[in-house]
């Protein structure tokens, strides 16, 4: 075991951080507020990957890191470890979601109908370059309907189970601290379903998309059809010390069900996350759909995709390679030189006549 000590590094390290922060300058409450208000979908993505819901904290992390997403998520994950856990809320049930967007690619006439909600799906992708010339961009206001949309709808899969297209889910009475929790216990394989879904909920969006896309393109066993995609607000159902249950507020959540034909019934995959991030949910649900029976080491095998979509661990492992590896690398060079010398020696001896 050996190491290399570097002299004079302390000043260089301090100056390098200053240089990083110089580009974005100082920040204050107003900048945090501006980030929170103007980038809601980025805030959602960060909260989902941090597994910590608070728009102000997410905006602060983005302002503090200049938008370096891996650093922002790491800051939030680190901060959450300093906080006490007050309670475990009651599980969110599908039919209590305050629904903003609910669509299905499998059935056009799902019970409750389809509402597009907030989306750019059908927008022209034209960059508003006029703004750079001084014009201001103001979106046209929504023209509200006379009657409100029904706030609460059951899942599409519940309707399919009623119609014998799917096996209905089993009853799971687990609640509170009995629900398996990755923040307090390790991820082991085969993974508990609660761990799998928690891990996907906090997974890095790009990683989930890359592996989910691989499955969609054919490197998997099942092709997804979006059974239901929902953007909603969920109640945080907590308990008063006297036993009364109440909603302590709402958080934005997204969830996706994807299905594929599997024998006489449909196979189903599921994923959900904090914030509105439908790409992540569809990709994650696709991985869930594909994971049963997946080949070891394939993109759709549970161990493979859960380990490789954990953003803090994967980005941390990636960037550790830029840290000094002088001793190990020198050792590799020594081995290479040794092998080269041996090869040269063998070659010299094979050139000799047997009698020599």
């Amino acid at each position: 075991m050996a190491y290399v000590a570097t002299r004079g590094g302390e000043r260089a390290i301090e100056q390098s951080e200053r240089l990083f922060r110089e580009e974005m300058g100082g920040f204050d409450r107003d900048r945090v507020e501006e980030v929170r208000k103007s980038l809601p979908y980025l805030i959602d993505r960060v909260m989902g990957e941090a597994s910590l819901y608070d728009e102000d904290l997410a905006a602060l992390a983005l302002a503090q890191t200049g938008g370096e997403l891996y650093e922002a998520v790491l800051l939030l994950r680190a901060w959450r470890t300093t906080q006490p856990r007050l309670q475990v809320a009651a599980p969110i049930e599908q039919d209590t979601l305050f629904t903003h967007r609910r669509i299905s690619a499998a059935f056009k006439d799902i019970p409750g109908g389809q509402v597009l909600g907030p989306t750019l799906d059908y927008a022209h992708r034209i960059l508003a370059t006029d703004v750079l010339q001084g014009a201001s961009y103001a979106p046209d206001p929504v023209e509200p309907a006379d009657t409100p949309s029904p706030a609460y709808q059951p899942s599409v899969s519940a309707w399919q189970a009623d119609n014998d297209l799917l096996d209905p889910p089993a009853e799971d009475p687990t609640k509170g601290n009995d629900i398996p929790d990755l923040t307090r216990e390790p991820l082991l394989f085969p993974s508990k379903r609660a761990h799998t879904l928690q891990s996907l909920a906090r997974a890095e969006t790009g990683g989930v998309l890359a592996l989910g896309y691989a499955a969609m393109r054919g490197y998997g066993q099942a092709h997804p059809t979006v059974n239901e995609l929902r953007l909603a607000e969920a109640e945080i159902a907590v308990t008063h010390p006297d036993g009364r249950q109440f909603s302590a507020g709402r958080v934005k959540v997204s969830q996706a069900e994807v299905v594929d034909k599997k024998g006489e019934k449909l196979g189903i995959g599921y994923a959900a996350t904090f914030g509105w991030n439908e790409v992540k949910c569809i990709a994650a649900a696709t991985l869930d759909l594909n994971s049963p029976g997946a080949e070891k080491g394939s993109a759709t095998e549970e161990e493979f995709f859960l380990y490789h979509t954990e953003g803090v661990e994967s980005s941390g492992f990636c960037i550790h390679f830029k840290l000094p590896h002088y001793v190990t690398f020198q050792s590799s060079l020594d081995a290479m030189r040794d092998a080269k010398a041996k090869k040269a020696g063998q070659s010299k001896s094979s050139d000799m006549e047997p009698a020599e």
Binding site: Y53, D56, P84, L116, P241, R250
Partner: protein
């Protein structure tokens, strides 16, 4: 779910604090057991297998107070200890029959405002309803 507590948890923070402050003289001496922020873990039900799993944690503020044997409790989203304490004060006032009519009027007004805000959202969502036909 308790509707009154649910309304107080989502009520306008500034109005809640102003109203709760007026209750303090009538409530008399109270004991503060807890006033802090922390995290509430939020599980969700998976529709494929029915399993409950953790979605993540939410930053919350909590206040727990007592007057004699009666407890008041507040929990709201985000870091705002004054707002969670205000909620606990209104809860305690209602539980001890302190200015009950005023508390009820405040909660009713807030419930109406929240309902109107929800209706406004849902009428805007309804504007995006699609009816598809197969040709």
């Amino acid at each position: 779910m308790d509707d009154t507590l649910s309304v107080l948890a989502r009520a306008d923070g500034a109005r809640l604090k102003s109203f709760a402050e007026t209750l303090i003289p009538d409530l008399g001496e109270i004991e503060v057991l807890q006033s802090r922020s922390g995290l509430v873990m939020l599980p969700m039900r998976d529709t494929a297998k029915g399993v409950a799993f953790h979605l993540g944690e939410v930053l919350m503020s909590e206040a727990h107070i007592r007057k004699g044997d009666v407890q008041g409790y507040g929990m709201r989203r985000g870091h705002d200890l004054e707002a969670s304490m205000a909620m606990a004060l209104v809860d305690l006032a209602m539980a001890t029959d302190v200015r009950r009519a005023d508390c009820k009027a405040f909660c009713d007004a807030q419930a109406e405002a929240l309902q109107k805000a929800d209706d406004d959202v849902l009428r805007r969502v309804e504007a995006t309803r699609v009816n598809m036909e197969t040709f």
